[in-house]
């Protein structure tokens, strides 16, 4: 009886807690959270957390080989979990470019970009991405994360104020922390709340938004945000991690989509989403880029991007420029999936982009739903609190131009079947 009670108590420990309970611990020993976390994680993993970090043993194409975290068996699954929105990272010309760069330059850059780590192809990629974005210059960062951290901390200082959307990516928040500026969060995609927060604030002000928000797939209401920011004398930074190469007549991003390319002060993007590669960049005037080159610590205290990656990105960028039909195909796939989800009664929230949350809205059930979906041949990741609010748990879909309608239909069938069995949709 006592053993059963203890078992029940342990079970309640798992369901009552999550990662957010292990951020802070009082006491003098920084290791004092390790024991309680391990105790919880040993319960959490078999209850669904094994779905995270399952290793892939194939390229992130429309199908992937995934080793199950529960059984250790490798299964081939239809993939709607990887970014790779345009499906270029595994194209032959990209792989060939990377191979040739590997032969020519070797594996890594072997140096900081401001010392010995800048190669000719780094300069060429920066020129090419600046030209694509129709800006004077661009600067490369080793990751999208370091681009936000490095850029924000290079231009903002103690005493300044940074206004971030409450759903901002961690790299924006961490950039603000490193800048030592006062950080104010406004309600998600809410220009009225931004207006309220900006009121009466003096000094240097920066408003940071994202083109497409990564957990909900909704698009920034940029015209209203820019108008409010301008009225209060604030500069605007847009992180187009999930929108560069996709939105706008030329694929430059959400700022171009709204015709606000020139009104937005700072344009940031990544190579890891639409191109399926790695790295981040900032575009702007020559003098801006020279300044960031001098003060972007996350960049020049890191090794530069590996040459094979850079060469692959250049090939990927060429494909994007030469094949605008990839964007057309992506948006056709997005429209198809949105229509089919609506027909099946599947809730994807406010998404209007290639990022679609399939809302399960049940924190206890989301792992069981994800496991069933995976067992039926579809690779999706569950997202739970604290990455999203409590009871807003979901499965995140990344649509790619490489998906066929047959593949998308197969995915809809699997998702709808499982959600119906679990009583989540009609």
């Amino acid at each position: 009886m006592e053993a059963a009670h203890r078992k029940e108590e342990r079970k309640s420990v798992f369901s009552d807690y999550d990662y957010s309970n292990f951020y802070y611990g009082a006491g003098d020993d920084p290791l004092n959270l390790l024991g309680p976390f391990r105790e919880w994680y040993e319960e959490a993993k078999p209850n669904g957390y094994y779905l995270y970090s399952e290793p892939l043993s194939s390229a992130p194409t429309t199908h992937v080989q995934v080793r199950s975290g529960r059984t250790n068996e490798v299964h081939e699954l239809l993939n709607l979990a990887s970014y790779n929105y345009l499906g270029v990272s595994y194209r032959d010309e990209v792989k060939q470019a990377a191979i040739e760069a590997l032969q020519k330059y070797g594996l890594g850059a072997s140096g900081s970009p401001i010392l010995s780590g800048t190669f000719d192809i780094h300069e060429e990629l920066a020129r090419e991405v600046a030209a694509f974005k129709a800006k004077e210059a661009a600067i490369l960062f080793p990751t999208g994360y370091s681009a936000n951290v490095g850029f924000i901390s290079s231009i903002m200082r103690s005493g300044d104020t940074i206004f971030c959307d409450q759903y901002s990516h961690a790299s924006i928040v961490d950039g603000a922390i490193l800048a030592k500026s006062k950080t104010v969060f406004f309600r998600h995609n809410n220009p009225m709340d931004l207006e309220r927060k900006l009121g009466g604030v003096r000094g240097k002000k920066l408003v940071v938004v994202e083109g497409v928000y990564s957990m909900d797939g909704d698009v920034c209401v940029l015209p209203e945000i820019v108008e409010v920011a301008r009225r209060h004398g604030a500069r605007v930074l847009i992180d187009e991690a999930h929108s560069t190469f996709l939105f706008g007549p030329n694929g430059r991003g959400v700022a171009e989509h709204f015709g606000l390319d020139k009104e937005v002060d700072f344009h940031l993007g990544t190579f890891s989403k639409s191109l399926g590669g790695q790295g981040g960049f900032v575009c702007g005037s020559r003098e801006l880029i020279d300044y960031v080159n001098a003060f972007g610590r996350s960049r020049f205290f890191s090794c530069n991007l590996a040459p094979p990656i850079v060469a692959g990105l250049r090939a990927g960028l060429r494909i994007v420029e030469e094949e605008p039909e990839l964007r057309t195909k992506l948006w056709s796939n997005v429209a198809y999936l949105r229509r089919r989800f609506a027909e099946e009664g599947i809730d994807i929230g406010k998404s209007t982009s290639q990022v679609m949350p399939v809302l399960v809205n049940n924190d206890a059930k989301v792992f069981a739903v994800a496991e069933k979906i995976q067992e039926r041949g579809l690779y999706l990741q569950p997202v739970t609190y604290p990455a999203v609010p409590k009871h807003k748990s979901r499965l995140r879909i990344s649509v790619s131009a490489a998906h066929t309608e047959e593949q998308l239909e197969q995915a809809v069938g699997i998702i709808a079947g499982v959600l119906r069995e679990e009583g989540i949709c009609r």
Binding site: D16, Y24, A26, L33, A176, H391
Partner: protein
Amino acid sequence: MPLTRYGYRNAISGFFEFPTDNARRILPAGLEPVELHHGTSIFSMTVFDFTESEVGTYGEAVMSVIVSPLVKAGERLPKSAFYPYLVATTTRAAREHAIERWHLPHWMEDVEIGFESQGRKLSARVAAEGAPVAELTIGDYSWHPVSHLYQSFMRDGDGSYLANITMEGQQSEHEEETGRIRLYDHAFNKDLALSEVYDVPFREIWMRDGAQTFQPLVELETA
């Protein structure tokens, strides 16, 4: 000292974003506010409708800052930790009991607390000296029986203390942003920069038909 039990009909809590600068002004040295985001901490208001206690039935409003818990390996992990910086009760007996036993800082006059149910929402109105000080409305979600451990830190002229508190009962917890708080310009709220406190809670907890049990008070060493 034995366990001390307080039975309640309703206990509603709203968790609200407010500036970390404000949190630090309230907290004594040694307590760290939990930040939701960089620069944003958590103000919490809880209102109880106690039906059973050593000092009879009474209402209680607790204004708190959420702080880092005291975590020890091998011991039960608290769900969260509070620093109640102001407690108000409807009876003098309840107030004197809580000050003497738990070293909780109090509003030193009786307050009026009224609960009003509106469908799936419950509102609590608190008034002091005949004037409204706060109105808290919480919505429900789904109900489950729970037993959660919370920590409450107290500090007064005599020392620093920790109370481990178990909350049992039916619980609804969610982040649907259905609730609301109205804080009035009143001496009761002098510690808060009112315009900086979000009026919609990011988290709402409603417990009913349960008990709050205090373990014996722990005296803490502080630098």
